[in-house]
Amino acid sequence: MGKKVLMKGNEVIAEAAIRAGCKHYFGYPITPQSDISHYMAKQLPLIGGAFVQAESEIAAINMLYGAAGAGARAMTSSSSPGISLKQEGISYMSCAELPAVVVNIVRCGPGLGGILPAQGDYFQAVKGGGHGDYKMVVLAPASLQELYELTVEAFNIADKYRILTMIMGDGNLGQMMEPIEFKDKEDIYEANKSWATTGTQMKREHNTVTSIYIEAEVLEAHNNKLQSKYTEIASKEVRVEEYNTENADIIVTAYGTVARILKNVIKNAAKEGIKVGLIRPITLWPFPSEAFARNAEHTKAFLSVELSAGQMVEDVRLAVNGKKPVYFYGRTGGMIPTENEILKKIKDILEKQGG
């Protein structure tokens, strides 16, 4: 292990991407993630890569399409309104099976909304914000060390399955500073990219990168291939943290920085003799449904806490499948729930459950 350095979340993403072998980055400025661009603009020219400030997020995602199709490890980043503009390209890249990483440092919406932290883009990320049947792997780190490791992993997963991987963070994660311990050398998945458009050199048939399949049978076959890939990922790539779930009277769940608040709530609750567990999805897709289903056997209720009006809670309900009640507590607009608010909600629920 290398030595510890103190860094800002957005810079951790950029540094981790470079360590993962990403030399091409395309972006359009938007708060609260512009430091990623600043870091890339400084570093990439020094290592023989390219930083391009695109004319829009639409252009940026299509530059990513070109770069990924040309065989490079490449990345774009943005925040919510910009990610909305990228949906066209995300759908096309998913169909063309182009591996790349998209970062969303989520801010509050809808509309231009505000620049404060939020988790209102969950549906867009995991249910497909663009058209058609596609999935992205969506990773939701809760600390900067995890942000670093998952950013490297995002590139590996993308290359391994020829899929888009999204890092979902919020403004807190992007702006906070924490010590990071970088590895001396990253584990890089070496993919065979013989499908990429790199020039035939007159030595092979020409390669084509496309998302168009005009004939019904051919497009259905392609969809079936995509779906079986998604099934494989769902069986192999689920990541989840379970904390204190054994014997828990109630299990709270949150992803990203909100889960850190919940850990404090759990400690405070324990002092009052209330046993609270935590399930923290690290992959939002594939969703760790099994962890919820298994814990539904013994706990009394679930509570999903989100910086949204209630999005991930729908996947929790699907996973729990009616076995136990699932409650929701959320704040929007950039408001952050306090530990006391959450503890009060927990007590209210347990009272209702006769606990």
């Binding site: 004319e55 639409i58 299509n62 530059m63 399409y65 070109g66 096309y92 007159m202 020409h206």
Partner: protein, 248 residues
């Protein structure tokens, strides 16, 4: 016997899907001949548009990517930044380039992106059945301007070459036409020079090609060629707008 006319190597040996009298196919041939003559088929990556030429990745023998509607210059930018030593071109229609993809083409040109664009101006949306294009002429009847394009309602056609030639990053800009043999020869010369300008690293290069759409113009192939000459060229003057003097 000497072979005097053959299929360029850079063109795949398949029949194309274009309508009779459509000049898209001939323009493909010109591009392929240029790739052959410059010996760059193996080091070229092309980008297909959305429009009637959407699947020309099947027709060119070089590596190809198919882009979303209007986004070809952005896709080409991504490719070129990864492979600065390769030749990268886009092939785009007027709806693709001058409507939905206006931002992408303007900024690729402004950045002086070292790519070449072959721009097919047929004054219509061919693929989607003849709607008005940003390049449709004043008075032109289309499925979405059934009473003729009226400037007070639909404004004036965009002169793409004139507009892009104002950008410093655009190194080579020329407008050519497909309406007769002499002009087809000129078109090939311009396309070849545009690729050479890219190879020399001067900046962005584009050739606007006045092209036919007999199907949606409701004209015969011969009438269509005449229409380019009589109606399009007076509004879209042929010639070089920039870069004629560049050494290649």
């Amino acid at each position: 016997m000497a072979v005097v006319f053959d299929r360029p190597h850079a063109l795949v040996d398949v029949s194309m899907h274009y309508c009779p009298g459509c000049t898209h196919g001939t323009i493909h041939r010109l591009v392929a001949e240029v790739l052959d003559e410059l010996g760059i088929e193996g080091t070229t990556i092309g980008v297909s548009p959305v429009g009637c030429a959407y699947n020309n990745y099947l027709y060119f023998n070089c590596d190809m990517q198919q882009a979303a509607h209007g986004r070809a210059p952005a896709v080409a930018t991504g490719i070129k930044r990864v492979h600065p030593d390769k030749t990268v071109f886009t092939y785009q229609g007027d709806g693709d380039l001058a409507a939905i993809g206006t931002a992408e083409i303007v900024h690729a040109a402004a950045r002086g992106e070292k790519i070449t664009t072959v721009f097919i101006n047929n004054a219509i949306y061919g693929m989607t059945s003849g709607q008005m294009a940003p390049t449709s002429l004043v008075g032109q009847v289309t499925t979405t301007s059934p009473y003729g394009r009226k400037p007070e309602l639909q404004g004036y056609p965009i002169k793409v070459s004139e507009m892009l030639s104002t950008l410093t990053g655009a190194a080579f800009v020329e407008r050519v036409s497909m309406h007769d043999i002499k002009n087809i020869r000129n078109a090939k010369k311009a396309i070849k020079k545009a690729f050479q300008v890219q190879q020399k690293g001067y900046g962005f290069s584009i050739v606007e090609v006045l092209s036919t759409c007999p199907t949606n113009w409701g004209k015969s192939p011969v009438e269509s060629l005449k229409l380019i000459e009589d109606k399009m060229i007076p509004y879209y003057p042929l010639g070089n707008f920039k870069g004629a003097d560049l050494e290649v």
